[in-house]
Symmetry: C2
């Protein structure tokens, strides 16, 4: 298992000696998903925090008619999980599924508690991570409440400038809450503005 | 300034020696609000995390027609602030206002950073606090998306069983997104069920 990307990500926020790096890496296991495979099914309890080493996933909900509503996209150096389900150990209200072949590094809730006890510096790392998760969630609420699909699309491109290259257009349309047809015209319009 | 309630709240999550308690308390200043006074005006940057020692506040947004939409109620041992504004140091998108005479203890962002540096155990305390804030925010989203006003009201009473005694009925109605008239009939109906 190659934990280099994970460790270099952690080192942006806290310092670790070799012993601590070794312990940290030892608590993770690797998982591979082919494009289309599930990381979490709606209704499952999310047992792991999963760091994306390579690949891309989408988090989404399915409505009663079987339509997907994309909630988020996760790429390298993000944590792909249902954080609410992980923290509360209650059934997940969304699914997470790979949209490219994906490699992840996973830590369980028990091992994360072990990590906090043995290397308290990780309290800081995850304090910062949960702050970011709180901020992202709030931005998503603001986006849900915000004015037009065009504005939502422009905000989305600012946050994820790689979106058009990596995410299926139908998934971006679903994320924005518009039809694929409407998304086509939106893309054309915004493309001319930017 | 009496920091006893604040310190006993912290001691539920981490242990502190006398020196650490003294340092911690020294970083807070006290603030009093009369019922109706503002803690934060929409558009201000939230400069403090504020711990409620006694009293009660509401967080709300005002729409273009001047109608209040209550987002949350804060009582003793809660932190009353716009956390998004505090963390990102951007203008607050909501206001926070006392609905009873209220006493708070406040810490600035700089002093909180000082605290993390000088007593790293506080990383754990605030990591747990931000986890809880994340969870509460997600529950609020789920509630926004959830089925009926009746269901929302029952969930609300489970989370805040003291609500009817402490919060003005018009504020509860606003929080639930119903008219005061509809709330009256809801209260009667749910009262008979519970």
């Amino acid at each position: 298992m190659n934990a280099q990307l994970l460790i270099s990500n952690v080192l942006k926020h806290i310092s670790l000696d070799d012993e601590e790096k070794k312990l940290f890496a030892s608590l993770f296991t690797s998982k591979s998903l082919r494009s289309g495979e599930f990381l979490i099914h709606e209704g499952d309890v999310c047992k792991y925090e999963s760091f994306v080493v390579i690949g891309c996933l989408k988090a989404y909900k399915e409505d009663a008619e079987g339509n997907e509503h994309v909630l988020d996209f996760l790429i390298e150096e993000w944590w792909a999980d249902d954080l609410y389900s992980f923290l509360t150990q209650t059934p997940s209200k969304s699914s997470v599924r790979a949209i490219e072949d994906t490699k992840l590094l996973q830590i369980s809730k028990d091992d994360l508690e072990t990590l906090y006890q043995r290397v308290p510096k990780f309290e800081r790392f995850f304090r910062l991570l949960f702050q970011k998760a709180y901020i992202a969630q709030r931005e998503q609420i603001n986006q849900m409440l915000s004015i037009s699909a065009e504005e939502r699309y422009i905000q989305f491109l600012k946050r994820k400038p790689y979106a058009l290259e990596r995410f299926p257009q139908k998934d971006i349309a679903s994320y924005l809450g518009v039809t694929p047809q409407f998304f086509s015209s939106l893309k054309k319009k915004v493309g001319q503005l930017m």
